[in-house]
Amino acid sequence: MNIIALVKYIPNPEGPPQMGPDHRLVREGVEGALDPGDEHVVEAALQLAEQSGGQVTVLSMGPEPALAAIRRALSMGAHKGVLITDAALPGADTLVTARVLAATIKRGEFDLVIGGVESTDGYTGTLPMAVAEFLGIPNATFARNIELKDGSIRIERQTEMGYDVVECPLPALVTVTAGANEPRYPTLKGIMQAKQKPMENLSLGDLGVSAEDAKATQEVMGVEPVPAKEAGEILEDPGQAPARVVELLARVKVI
């Protein structure tokens, strides 16, 4: 079984994000990593590959430092990496990104595509569904559990009030929530082996995606701070707390 794991490189996942003068997130020159949400993607892909004797290809679109995210996935145990980098792509929106990822996936054989629910920096949360539509395959999204059974998958799909069970024949696209699994840590052996694993670097020309197809449909016109909220009152003596909370709740008539 061929599994494609979609991953994103994000700058500085632990610290506050920074925005450059071009209104884009600063991605160069800062310490970056595999999006923490995508560690669950890689883990899900590895578990399904282990069960089915399959191969995991890690696919990412991003600047050259994004190789670090792919390396991390390879050191966790993924088999192959593909990185798409092109001067026309910085600032790409979800439509362009989905188009590029789908064009890359279509070049080879695949049974299952796995993505995250949303990225930690952009959190648009719609990219994998657009990829599924471009590929013409169904999406079984927001999975907190995935099972393989005879050419199909069965997932528990997170809902507002609980969960649904969704069954879907392969090929299909799945997205996984952070509750789906506990990502493994790369072993020293895994880290050493990652350097030897096959790695493919592609540009738009390799994919037959034109510069017109890579044109973004959204432009940031301005960024301004939200007016600061008036400072509230801080009680350092918790003994006063009960009376003050009662007073506030009574004032707004909820008790």
């Binding site: 929106d93 979800t94 989905a98 539509e133 649904d164 069954e167 959204q218 016109m221 801080i234 707390a241």
Partner: protein, 322 residues
């Protein structure tokens, strides 16, 4: 006939989900031709509500194919409707099903899709907030119509316009077997005690500072004393398995805007603030005086929640008893 559409999820009893009513208020501000698209059992019963909140037209199909299968049938039907009627803009709620539909639709129409919008200033001009709501970003939308926008919950206030029922236009679209793949075969709903978080006047949310899952009962006792209160949680304690996901407030959970939000043992990470900072009043209880949540609190209490909470509960009971 350009127009503004609201994609609405409707229950089998015809009840329209709250995000669609919020979006209708904005759609009415933006244009004169407002339509709702609702697909699945109960859809055509939404005519009254759709009209009351400002839509003239309801494109509806009660066919269960739209809820039995994930996204693909709805995307196909929407795409057919778009080709027929050519709307300028379609607004979606931030629900799981709507995100699936909007994401796939974008690839069909080649349109722009903006997520997490907090305001829409025109058919091609929207705003979002980033970094936990510390900054407002203005975005222009280009490319082919319709522009697709997913709106954050509670961005707009639903407003009945007093209009009569919307005119129902039946949606009659052929759904092939190719689109009947991802099948919903079971539904499990976890019924929560007390009012729903989206409807509660007061929400009491707990985080790591509660130290262990058993201490959530202190929140429930406080909720019980107040009455119209619900209990929520930060992502940290949901991920730790203390409480179910349905209770999670924040970026990847629910967005709430109650009269009073009481954050207990929650430090106030950006991801949590996104889900609650529009609450009318915020009370924070935390041991750490430097916790970011205090910057957003109307009333901050520096202290041990395990000690303070029972005292507050007792004081409320005493007040109510008096």
């Amino acid at each position: 006939m350009p127009g503004i559409w609201v994609y609405a999820e409707v229950g089998s009893d015809g009840k329209v989900e709250s995000g669609a009513l919020e979006n209708l208020a904005k759609a009415r501000d933006l244009g004169t031709e407002v339509a709702v698209v609702a697909l699945g059992p109960g859809a055509s019963q939404a005519a009254e509500t759709a009209g009351q909140y400002g839509a003239q037209t309801l494109h509806a199909s009660d066919d269960s194919v739209y809820t039995d299968f994930i996204a693909q049938p709805a995307v196909h039907a929407l795409h057919e409707l778009i080709q027929q009627h050519q709307p300028e803009l379609i607004l979606f709620s931030s629900t799981y099903d709507s995100r699936d539909v909007a994401g796939r639709l974008q690839a069909r129409t080649g349109s722009t899709l903006m997520s997490n919008a907090t305001d829409i200033l025109g058919p091609d001009y929207a705003q979002t907030q980033i970094f936990g709501g510390q900054q407002i970003v203005d975005v222009t939308l280009s490319g082919p119509n319709p522009k697709l926008v997913i709106v954050r919950p509670k961005s707009f206030e639903p407003q009945p316009s007093g209009g009569g029922p919307a005119r129902v236009v039946p949606v009659e679209v052929e759904i092939s077997d190719d689109m009947r793949k991802a099948a919903r075969v079971e539904r499990h709903e976890q019924a929560a005690a007390g009012p729903k978080m989206e409807e509660a006047k007061v929400i009491i949310a707990g985080g790591r500072g509660l130290q262990q899952p058993e201490n959530f009962k202190l929140l429930e006792e406080l909720a019980g004393a107040i009455g119209s209160a619900a209990v929520g949680a930060s992502r940290a304690v949901v991920d730790a398995g203390w409480v179910p996901y349905a209770m999670q407030i924040g970026q990847t959970g629910k967005t709430v805007s109650p009269e009073v939000y009481i954050a207990v043992g929650i430090s106030g990470a950006i991801q949590h603030l996104v889900g609650m900072k529009t609450s009318k009043r915020i009370i924070a209880i935390n041991k750490d005086k430097e916790a970011p949540i205090f910057q957003y609190a109307d009333l901050g209490i520096v202290g041990d929640a395990l000690k303070v909470l029972p005292e507050i509960t007792a004081a409320i009971k005493a007040k109510k008893g008096s």
